[in-house]
Amino acid sequence: MQWLQGTALAAAVAEVWFPRVECLHVIAMAMLAGTIFIVDTRLLGLTSREHSFRYLSERLLPWTWVAFTVSVLTGSLMFMSNATGYYGNSAFRLKMLLLVLAGLNMLYFQFVTFRGVAAWDHGHPPVRARLAGLASVGIWCTVIASGRWIGFSL
């Protein structure tokens, strides 16, 4: 961690670029979480029932992936600038764990629940799909909370 923090790039972020990188990170986070909330509330059968689930997710998830990529890049730069501090921070570790959980939830949904999507694409999603949506909303709200808590605990 100390090696990473001592690199020229890490120093540049820490001394000059951190506010700009952080602003980009927050914009990316807003797009990431917001688009996920719209897709998940459809999965819960609460909103956008005019559209099939596949149509809505195909239209919005590319933006989710762009936002996720920017979040990872900017988050990595922020981490580098104070690697030892973030690594030892419990809120940061919780956020990373939650991101893994979000990924696992998404993978399970994609490779198991989504296989039967033709049966519920236009109608009310089954319980498993709704649970995946609820879990996703809960996980991403907690990601936001732990991310904000890093600032209070670092």
Binding site: P19, E22, C23, V26, I27, M29, A30, M31, L32, A33, G34, T35, F37, I38, T47, S48, E50, H51, Y55, L56, R59, L60, W63, C141, I144, A145, R148, W149, G151, F152
Partner: protein, 156 residues
């Protein structure tokens, strides 16, 4: 009364003291503020994409606006509520800060653009034009500006 004197008075009120002394209260209000902001940002993005002929193109602009514009107003109301609580809790952090006032001006501009987009949607013309794409682009740039100004409040 000067801004400084007003900050002193506000920070000394019972309500402000209650928020300041309740462990985690400011953090919780900020977290709710950010969750509302993320929701609003995605709603605005969907509306802007549709206005420029992209996104949820199988739904008419009028229909999408009927669903998303009220949701944007709800999110904005929650943001103003949580934002007001943050001002009450930490007046020195906001009311003495240029970034805060820039953010408020941008919020007013974004609100006026939301009204304009709602009006464009109501005329029911499914026209994709350069002016509409420009409005959609400006709309998203303003929301990005609001996020940036909001984050920069912490860097006074």
């Amino acid at each position: 009364m000067t801004i400084v004197a007003f900050n002193h008075w506000l920070a000394a009120t019972t309500f402000s003291q209650f928020i300041q002394r309740t462990h985690g209260a400011i953090a919780l209000i900020q977290i709710l503020h950010i969750i509302c902001l993320a929701t609003l940002f995605a709603l605005a993005l969907s509306l802007a994409l549709r206005l420029s002929g992209r996104g949820l193109a199988s739904e008419t602009l009028a229909s999408l606006a009927r669903r998303f514009v009220p949701a944007i107003w709800i999110c904005l109301s929650l943001l103003l509520l949580t934002g007001s609580l943050l001002i009450v809790a930490e007046p020195y952090r906001t009311l003495n800060n240029l970034a805060f006032y820039v953010k408020m001006v941008l919020v007013i501009v974004a609100s006026l653009l939301t009204v304009r987009i709602g009006a464009l949607a109501r005329n029911r013309a499914e026209v994709v034009s350069l002016p509409r794409t420009a409005v959609a682009t400006l709309y998203m740039l303003i929301w990005c500006g609001i996020i940036i100004a909001g984050r920069l409040i912490a860097y006074r």
